[in-house]
Symmetry: C2
DNA sequence: GGAGGTCAGGCAAGCGCTTTCCTGGCAGCG
DNA sequence: CGCTGCCAGGAAAGCGCTTGCCTGACCTCC
């Protein structure tokens, strides 16, 4: 591996001069020497050792990002926003997948600290886990104490700069939407209960239902993984236990797609017999059949804002930006199949549907 | 930021000893000193500077990966395979998205070289572009000359270790499948013509069609971006120009999904009037309606193999592993709507379909 | 009791680069 | 002609860490 001194030697100059030419230093260098250096660089295919450079200049420039999984469209969108702003400022991004494992998240904070990143951005749901939260906050605080910047997306556990999708409002929107369509027996296909995203969305839904005198009993909420297969499993369980439901709320689009698939396999008409609502408005939502009614979050925007916060050291610390959610009406929702009296549930219709009970 | 010397000072030992404790060196250290060091580490929240470590030990351990886009399911799967093997060997992965931009690919090779990665893995289609190919090969060769290892996935331009999906065989499988179903008027919704993936798949398809005396004229092949919107656009153009088609081959699943969406918007029954085939077998393929018939590639396996090749320096250089493609039959294909005589095309049926001509 | 052996721990030389500060040469000025 | 000032280029001091080698203390054995 060619080094700076190799280049310098070949060009017949000192390493200092070579360095100045290569980095376009403000210090002037004669045209002749400059050319000699450049030629040597080309001939040797010289590439500066990035680690040595980082050591020598104390300037930290890279930014670390911890997400659950970049290949998940939700995070892919957020990452796009992060990238955009980072690129504008000439920052390199180091992206780490925690796969929703708190321990791995902790490890990555250390790793990024070791990589001397200028800022760490945590994206994705927080956890209902006091021990983990304390540990994470300790690490983050230690990092900030050494001049590092931290911004989070959609998690409440860290008391610093944050951008928050309005999950609760989104939940409320869904509740209102379904209520207006006449749905009174509503089931929820939810993500893991330890995720704040799950509970926030659920809380919003409950709030708007409660505003109309409806309640959402625990047995109509099924928790599973936040993915397609989780959606299939939770929907199956829900349908078996609660055949009278006229609407199913999936707490993200992946689960909603699983729900749609299961419903189709059981020949339940959507939205004829059961309406389905998702959350997030992933790109695929409009391509499934029926096209999915869902709640859109400004994901790219969230990423962009978070990066701006992280990079703009100026302002006093705890800036929190809440970004609004919005209903996207498509074809998976419709009026409740028949008017069900508000109270007497249990003896409802639906038992005659082709639903296999376990 | 606390440094090793800070820790050493606090523990009352030399930096050398502190280093040995922290890295679990083989050199023995008294229990007492060890504890003092560990305590100091904890108190100072010390995290070693990764760049300094990399400089000091000449051991390179990270591996660089250049893909088109990790959030694309195709690459997400490959990356999963890469990760698995890398993790097994304690390697860190640096993943870079080229977004199918050759220049960016070149830049990333430099960057990874600068990061002192032990190996570089290039995944994704190659380009039909002689200049770029030469440039890339130069850089790669220079990198290999300094002891770096290179492995590619699905690109022919580099003459070293490679794992290749059998795109051509996949194309052939599709041709055979459709022929057997009675399709004679087949259109193709293809990705960018500069990508070798596109041309390989197309070549395979042409081969198997030719084996039955059929040809695939240029006007029945429409190129567009390798994504959902590209699929929509190309399918629309194809349908407008060639209403007699009974089958549409999309050269990847994203495009196939676009095709399905467009077909639905025009009320063309799939597979009743037109059959649709995809390529790749992305997870979503089974959840669209109708579930997509497609060609499966062992993506995870491909990633795993490539990483193994890259990490196993032992063998003599050009090892090429070709991995087989396989048809996955689902609901988007069916018999051609009526038996069309092999030769006389043009006067075929289909004009009575509700297809809007531009 | 002294020579030789053993072993924990420290010294210091780098790893490849940047950057401050210094040097030597030259032009400009009185 | 000599002094000052300016400027291109080089010497060298780190950046934070690892590690080969050396030291000095302590044991062991004759």
């Amino acid at each position: 591996m060619a080094t700076l001194s190799d280049v310098a030697r070949r060009a017949g100059v000192s390493p200092a001069t070579a360095s100045r030419v290569i980095n376009g230093s403000s210090k002037p260098v004669t045209e002749e020497l400059r050319e000699r250096v450049l030629r040597a660089v080309a001939e040797l295919q010289y590439v500066p050792n990035a680690h040595a450079q980082l050591l020598a200049r104390s300037h930290r420039t890279a930014v670390g990002v911890i997400v659950h999984d970049v290949s998940d469209p939700y995070f892919a969108e957020i990452t796009r926003g992060l990238q955009r702003v980072a690129a504008d400022q000439g920052r390199l991004l180091m992206i780490c997948n925690s796969y929703r494992d708190p321990d791995r998240e902790l490890e990555y904070v250390e790793l990024l600290r070791g990589q001397q990143v200028a800022a760490i951005i945590l994206a994705g749901s927080g956890y209902h886990d006091a021990t983990f939260t304390r540990l994470l906050n300790e690490k983050l605080t230690a990092y900030e104490a050494t001049g590092g910047r931290v911004a989070v997306i959609g998690r409440h556990e860290h008391s610093g700069d944050a951008v928050m999708p309005d999950n609760r409002a989104g939940g409320r929107l869904i509740g209102a939407e379904l209520y207006e369509l006449g749905h009174r027996a509503i089931g929820v296909v939810a993500g893991p209960a330890v995720l704040t995203t799950t509970t926030d969305r659920l809380t919003g839904l409950r709030e708007s239902l409660a505003a109309h005198g409806l309640s959402l009993p625990e047995h109509r909420v099924r928790h599973a993984e936040f993915d397609r297969d989780g959606g299939v499993a939770a929907t199956a369980a829900l349908l078996d236990a609660e055949p009278e439901l006229t609407a199913i709320v999936a707490l993200n689009d992946s689960m909603a797609i699983g729900a749609l698939t299961l419903l189709r396999s059981r020949s339940v008409a959507v939205p004829g017999q059961v309406s389905v609502v998702g959350f997030d408005d992933m790109p695929i939502a409009r391509d499934v059949t029926p096209a999915l009614t869902t709640v859109r979050l400004p994901l790219v925007e969230m990423g962009a804002r978070a990066m701006s916060l992280a990079l703009d050291a100026g302002a006093p610390a705890p800036r929190v930006e809440v970004l609004p959610a919005e209903v996207v009406r498509r074809d998976s929702t419709g009026p409740a199949p028949e008017v069900v009296p508000v109270r007497p549930r249990g003896a409802g219709p639906g038992a005659d549907r082709p639903v296999r009970r376990s």
